[in-house]
Amino acid sequence: MAPIQVAALHGLGVPQDRLERLASASGLSVWQARGGAGGTRSRPSRPADPAGRVVVVVDSASPEELRAGLDKPFTALVESVGLTEGDLVATLVHAAGYDLYVSLTTVTANRLELANRIATAIAHRHPMAEARREDMELALHEATTNAVIHGNLGMDSMKGLSITALDRFSRDLTARLTDPAFAKRRLEVSVGIDQGGATVEVADQGSGFSAKPSGSGGASGRGLELIAAIAQSYEILDGGRRIRMRFAL
């Protein structure tokens, strides 16, 4: 009988007993690096299937570890901070269903150059010309920026072409990134890769927005225009809290 392919769970800053409890509750195996030293316990664990998925749960991690969080063989990155164990388990199960997935707080997502990490991870799984990878990174960057700034941080676009508008934006951004009420809101990115391309969804926990027509000559509003020029198609869902983009590859 062929072995059942089960996704695996890896922890960053997670005590072993907690990791095993989370894995068990999520129906995941505990990840063992191929050829690595293995766990400290003698109980058998399934080696990672190279075609399988590995979800990384983060209790605490260095910037370098986070940056490597979507490198092969890892397929998902989930920050545990602020989640009940029940919600965390549900998120881990959800994460294992995608080719790539992240659930991060706004502050972490902002520090990580998330669009670059995701575009690079997609390119590893579906090789493409560098110019194409760059374009996809830009579209992802615009989508995650909208989710961070307008969604989770609840900020308006810059109004008017002036230093005053830039100063106001600068002040608000700095204040909100350090305000826990806003900074702990989550950003979620889900990726499905198929023969024809990739479908990417970016979701935030803000109060939603309605896309205004991009005015000519303002300092803001070109994000969706760039997404439209790069993606094959896109839809705005969940009252403006989610964008689903389709990229032909």
């Binding site: 830009l138 960057h141 615009e142 920026t145 830039l166 300092a219 225009e225």
Partner: protein
């Protein structure tokens, strides 16, 4: 994003390096201030070492141009290549800002 400014009598050249995104708001603010205060009439932004620009970066370049225009200074973008050149083209910035190769 990093920048270096080279001020001559007629022209000031600012060389941008790295990535220009919404996170560079404070640096852009400082740069605009330096461009406003130097005596040269012509302010050139050399983008040949800029690897990436997003829509917020475009917006900030437009603000820089507006502030220069307000005090009768010339504002020029020069040397954009790769991703940056493509974004300037899609955003049709050439209609608003003087762009040189």
């Amino acid at each position: 994003m990093e920048y270096a400014i080279d001020i001559r009598e007629q022209e000031a050249v600012v060389r941008l390096r790295g990535r220009l995104t919404f996170n560079d708001h404070a640096k852009l603010r400082a740069l605009i201030q330096e461009m406003l205060q130097n005596k040269a009439k012509r302010q050139v932004l050399d983008l040949s070492n800029l690897e990436f620009v997003d829509s917020a970066g475009i917006g900030m370049l437009l603000i820089a141009r507006e502030e220069m225009t307000n005090i009768d200074k010339q504002f020029v973008l020069r040397g954009a290549q790769g991703q940056v050149k493509r974004v300037l083209s899609v955003a049709q910035l050439g209609k608003i800002i003087s762009i040189e190769e």
